[in-house]
């Protein structure tokens, strides 16, 4: 019985040669950083640059982390009257060879309902969830409350 399953698995794996490349996600993440939170009642934010080094379009659908109950990718927009607002960004396509920048005042990872404060100097695990199932785990360093970018 077991042997049959193994044979079946081999047959399926052979029919999907791309599965064999699952450990080469074609995604590079640069300069991740998060702003420290004041306590745990206010939402946190994280930023990074996602590079699609593969040959196919990739679709970022969300993020997961133990730090927050509701981590979401948001987009800040500012209208002609100078009023800024945030809304969930939805699925984001990253073309092959292109990169996606999450930076202050634009796209950001919003950590809603923190499970614990984001403490300056620490870091936490975060998973970028992609539509094709090949997710990417990263570590996000926590900078100061007044940090403006990955360097400070």
């Amino acid at each position: 019985m077991k042997r049959h399953f193994f044979a079946l698995f081999l047959a399926i794996a052979a029919s999907f040669p791309s599965l064999a490349l699952a450990d080469q996600p074609g995604i590079t993440v640069e300069q991740p950083w998060s702003r420290a939170s004041i306590g745990d009642s206010r939402p946190g934010a994280a930023y990074l640059v996602v590079q699609n080094t593969g040959t196919e379009i990739r679709v970022l659908t969300g993020v997961e982390t133990d730090m927050a109950m509701m981590p979401q990718i948001h987009r800040t927009t500012t209208d002609a009257n100078g009023v800024s607002q945030m809304a969930p960004a939805g699925e984001i396509e990253i073309l092959a060879g292109e990169s996606l920048t999450l930076a202050p005042g634009g796209l950001h990872i919003m950590l809603m309902r923190l499970n614990q404060p984001l403490v300056e100097g620490e870091s936490y695990a975060l998973t970028l969830v992609f539509k094709n199932g090949h997710n990417v785990d990263i570590s996000v360093p926590i900078l100061g409350v007044a940090a403006r970018g990955p360097e400070n």
């Binding site: 702003r35 004041i38 009642s41 206010r42 939402p43 946190g44 934010a45 509701m70 948001h74 800040t76 500012t78 002609a80 009257n81 100078g82 009023v83 800024s84 607002q85 945030m86 202050p104 005042g105 950001h108 919003m110 950590l111 809603m112 309902r113 100061g144 409350v145 007044a146 940090a147 403006r148």
Partner: protein
């Protein structure tokens, strides 16, 4: 001799032509073809009439800012992206000023007084430049302040509500006259130049 029918034809044609001209006028002036209206200018600080509490609980009003140039920004401390970014930018400009930060007023006014008490504001601005002031007041005082600045805000829904709000930094001359806005995405050099210009005699 011109027949009645011809006259009627001319009239109908003229009416139709006038209609087209009016429609084009509407398109260009009020319709989708209109140039985006410049945002309204805030009142001079001397003509604003609200009062609030600062981060120490002291009574403050815009008139009290006259005498030095001022930077004023609306936001809320539960704002994860725009507000810490702008407060960090303002802190950087203050640090980079040749004349020194004490030559200016820099004021953060909350649009979320329900959560931003004096204590919450004091703790929050403590992470930014020490020259920064944080003002809060009742809902009525907040609405009054927003109206005087010709700014706007909209409270979101639910327990974790966000607040849409005017995000530019308002600039005022030492005598309280409005002097412009620094937008959210303006680059650092241009922003510092605008602030330096405020300090020119």
């Amino acid at each position: 001799m011109i027949s009645r029918r011809t006259v009627a034809g001319y009239l109908a044609g003229s009416v139709a032509l006038a209609g087209v001209v009016l429609a084009i006028g509407w398109w260009q002036v009020d319709g989708p073809g209109a140039a985006p209206a410049a945002p309204l200018r805030p009142l001079p600080l001397s003509e604003m009439s609200f009062s609030m509490q600062d981060q120490n609980g002291a009574e403050v009003s815009p008139g009290g800012l006259i005498g030095k140039p001022s930077l004023v920004f609306f936001g809320y401390t539960f704002c994860p992206d725009v507000c810490p970014t702008t407060l960090s930018d303002i802190s950087t400009w203050l640090t980079e000023l040749d004349a020194g930060a004490e030559q200016l007023n820099a004021v953060f006014i909350t649009v979320d007084p329900a959560r931003d008490t004096v204590a919450a504001i004091a703790q929050y601005i403590g992470y930014f430049h020490p020259a920064l002031q944080g003002w809060t007041g009742s809902k009525a005082e907040t609405d009054h302040a927003v109206a005087d600045f010709r700014a706007s805000y909209t409270l979101g829904e639910g327990p974790d509500y966000a607040v849409d709000h005017t995000s530019g930094v308002f600039l005022f001359q030492a005598d309280g006259r409005f002097a412009g806005v620094i937008d959210l995405h303006e680059d650092r050099a241009q922003a510092v130049a605008k602030v330096e210009r405020l300090l020119q005699p």
